[in-house]
Symmetry: C2
Subunit: 248 residues, 2 copies
DNA sequence: CGGAGTGAAGTTGTCTGACAAATACTGGGC
DNA sequence: GCCCAGTATTTGTCAGACAACTTCACTCCG
């Protein structure tokens, strides 16, 4: 069986990552030496090193010349803005039940700002999906997702799906569009009248507004999202890399 | 003081990264093939691949099997929470002049929470540096940095330096401590009386609170920081990776 | 003339084996 | 008990080769 859809090094990385998740490799412990681990996993040392490189970049392991490779202390953060995508993930990561209320969608011509973000001509149709997301039944986030209507050309019925399921899930499984990365911007705001009504909170309440554009692996903009989070719904965390890269 | 040897692959990564910064390799262009680039840089293909893997993890390049390695679309965001460290960087990235007012510092025993974050025994001394940071002369951030007093054992005068210069700069250049990564958490809050007075704003004003712990390359906690940002001072951005790794 | 299929060239992925460089460990000498 | 040199272990790098995949020019056929 050699249907290798993806590089072996990726499978090796996932395997090691899973072992860490399952606790077989706890924080601080040293991995077997590269030759030993490569033999055990049935790949060459070069392939194993490729996987270790990635894991090091993700901060899961640390490699020390002449000493060994160690599982990092810093475990994964549950609700991390830089790895968790979408509200569904965030709610589940917080250990609560994710739900949707008041979902609705419509098609409209893209505004100038939206057209710029999504690389469209102003006036081209976009699908807008608006939802109130709930955690354990309580409204916590108002989200508005905007994507070019052409993605749904043949599958208009999928818009209904997006009201129920995670948008990323529909994009990937039903449309074959995988989100590769996104850029999010956020700032604190006060709830205006319309948002306050949808979230059932007083006007002027504290919110965290997050704007985000997601791209596929070719750098093509896929979705533009606006989210309004209750201030105390989540504590967002971000893993920051650097500085201290170019030390002499 | 440890001067760790620098693997060649790290120098190679910096060299390629610099070429991208200098515009010699613009977005979308294809890099020379691995054998060619390895020869040009005077390293083996294995070392070059080590560097490329890192750059790919940082999102600067994309590698496609059988096709080539391509420079990603510009992804260095000016005020990016996941790469810019410290208030000084953020202010400068926004094109404004960074300044400090009302700087003061003192030593005190660590609270239980601080001791936990910095891996100290409760009661051990910490240095607290409190500053009001200004952008073009206007107060924008109140910051409180906490680090174990033992780092300053021999250099108590450096605490004065920290009132003027970037704390990361003092840590790195004067104390030889390089911050490797940090974990930041944020949420919107309202200004309480003390913060409002320091920032010269009305009580209840919108703020973004960021608290953060920074670590060195060995995973040792170095600094714990609390920052209170004016809501409209910066638009923070975060580059998000994934999802699409491990669909369950 | 256009489109599908074919093959060669180019590029990244992986393998093997070896040596260099850095660190950890061991044991002897004091 | 401590220091230090030598040895073993481990990661870093090198070289060359082949496999897997992409791209593109070309041919062949309708």
């Amino acid at each position: 069986m050699k249907t290798r859809a993806r590089p072996r090094s990726v499978s090796v990385r996932d395997e090691i990552s899973d072992r860490i998740d399952r606790g077989e490799l706890s924080a601080g412990t040293r991995l077997p030496s590269e030759p030993a681990l490569a033999t055990e996993l049935g790949v060459s040392r070069a392939t194993l090193r490729e996987a270790l490189r990635t894991l090091e970049g993700e901060g899961l392991v640390r490699r020390m010349w002449g000493s060994g490779t160690y599982v990092s202390q810093s475990r994964r953060v549950a609700t991390s803005l830089d790895v968790n995508f979408g509200v569904t993930d965030a709610i589940r990561a917080a250990g609560m039940e994710a739900g949707t209320e008041q979902g609705r969608y419509w098609f409209e011509p893209a505004s100038a700002a939206e057209a710029g973000q999504l690389n469209l001509e102003p006036g081209q149709d976009v699908l807008v999906v608006e939802r109130v997301r709930t955690a354990d039944g309580k409204p916590v986030v108002l989200s508005r997702d905007i994507l070019p209507a052409r993605f749904l050309a043949e599958h208009a019925e999928l818009a209904d799906q997006m009201l129920q399921r995670s948008m990323y899930e529909v994009l990937e499984k039903d449309l074959g569009i995988a989100i590769h990365h996104g850029v999010a911007t956020f700032r604190p705001i006060r709830a205006d009248v319309t948002v306050a009504r949808r979230l059932d909170i007083p006007r002027g309440e504290l919110l965290l507004a997050i704007w985000q554009v997601d791209y596929d692996e070719d750098g093509v903009a896929i979705v533009s999202s606006h989210e309004y989070h209750l201030a105390d719904a989540f504590d967002f965390t971000v893993h920051r890399r650097g500085p201290g890269r170019r030390v002499q």
